[in-house]
């Protein structure tokens, strides 16, 4: 420990920043009606919303994996015109207000959309809305990892007679597994917390499209205690993801 002492001004600002992020979470825990928590979280509406949330977020993750991994591979390994445009487009949902995403989804996949799938007001609509905001997390994590590994592994596999598809699944994919896991966890957590795109595109109906965040929002209007209990549940789920992924996290750096 021969390092110089960190400047006081920076430390103060950093502590203020940490407090700003932590205080709301601590307040939530503080206001949680712990003794009535089991009751509040086992009401029919809470259980329905939780089950729907798990179904939708896992569905969104599955969808993200199926199209996200190939998309990451395309961005990392194939040179083509307009690649930077595609990368920007893939990143866009990260910064786009989710409600805008919901409106865009309506215009694309609504009943009178460009591809009229009539997905509004269905659980598939909720899954689609969640996948829309979660996909970039997965793509960026996997693309970053793919860029970090030497392409010569692929070349060696090819000289040994492995086809491109087989090389991808047997050589390339196993090497980016930690990043895939980290990206999946982030994407899943983002899907679980999705609100704006879901309520705009999929609507709000218990058991069909009313996921936990929507339930929290509407419950807050007439039963703040129940809303706080649901919020604590979501916070706990997010913490579990972070703690579980912590060891993986290191590997990706």
């Amino acid at each position: 420990m021969t390092r110089t002492r960190p400047p006081l001004s920076l430390t103060t600002a950093a502590v203020a920043g940490a407090a700003f992020l932590l205080l709301p979470l601590v307040s939530l825990a503080d206001r949680t009606p712990w003794h009535s928590l089991p009751h509040l979280l086992t009401t029919t509406s809470a259980v329905t919303a939780l089950r729907l949330s798990l179904e939708c977020s896992l569905g969104a993750l599955a969808l993200s994996l199926v199209v996200g991994v190939p998309l990451a591979w395309l961005l990392a390994r194939v040179d083509f015109r307009g690649k930077s445009v595609l990368r920007a487009a893939v990143t866009l949902p990260l910064v786009l207000p989710p409600v805008v995403g919901g409106v865009a989804l309506l215009l694309a996949f609504g009943r009178h959309g460009v591809i009229p799938l009539s997905l509004a007001f269905t659980t598939w609509g909720a899954i689609l809305a969640e996948a829309f905001v979660a996909l970039p997390f997965l793509v960026l994590a996997v693309e970053g990892a793919l860029l970090g590994i030497d392409e010569r592994y692929d070349d060696v596999a090819a000289t040994l007679g492995s086809g491109t598809t087989r090389t991808f699944f047997r050589v390339t994919l196993p090497m980016v597994l930690p990043a895939l896991a980290a990206g999946s966890a982030l994407a899943w957590a983002r899907a679980l917390g999705e609100f704006g795109a879901t309520i705009t595109f999929a609507g709000n109906l218990p058991g069909s499209t009313q996921t936990l965040p929507l339930d929290v929002y509407l419950t807050l209007q007439n039963d703040p205690d129940a809303a706080v209990a649901l919020s604590t549940l979501l916070l706990a789920l997010s913490l579990v993801v972070l703690v579980a992924m912590r060891s993986r996290w290191r590997l990706t750096r």
Binding site: G110, L205, Q221, N222
Partner: protein, 244 residues
Amino acid sequence: MSRRALGTAVAVAALLTACGGNSNNTGSKPRTITVFAAASLTNAFAAEAAAYTKQSGVHVRFSFAGSQDLVAQLNQGAPADAVATADTATLGKLTVHLSGATTLFARNRLVIVTAPGNPKHIRSAADLAKPSVVVVLAAPTVPAGKYAVKALQAAHVTVHPKSLEDNVRGVLTKVELGEADAGIVYVTDAQSAGAKVGTVALPTSPIATYPAAAVDAAGQGFVDFLTSPAGQAILARFGFLPPR
């Protein structure tokens, strides 16, 4: 050097924070008031605000949402000078102190809205029960949703809505966009949408009453303006019924 720069930045930030806040209340009379209003009042209140500003010089800014949402926000300490909801029961849940009496300033009725031209041939509330008709209502916590449930009960119709929107304008939007075949909104909402929706009468609709109250002295002027002849004329133009 960098430490000094940072110190300066912190000082500037502190100064800015101190200067923020009550910049409006420099004179004896505030120049801008904040009014929390039910979503169904969106268009009418924009016109009310313009007229009120012309008359009094006070600017009005709004937060429009479902009435129950507004009351929840106020109870959590949201700052407003006045509040107007779409039913008296919701306003009754307000736990903050009101500076003036509650004033009824308008009434309203519900109507069925359909896509333009009514392609699903909806003629009455009973048609909303057909499985082929996608119906969207306001959530039962929203006044419009509560009134809609009463209207459907009175008509002896059981409807399975595809979505329960968190304010009545959400219902209108879903019908306008064609995502829903029909919805139940206020007559005034349907009027504001013009030719973008069709309407079918809902004779069993209860009468919605709109109360307003001032949260502080600054909001009283606007509440009084709503029941003045000028304020009532604007509400009538947007399809609202007089309070009694």
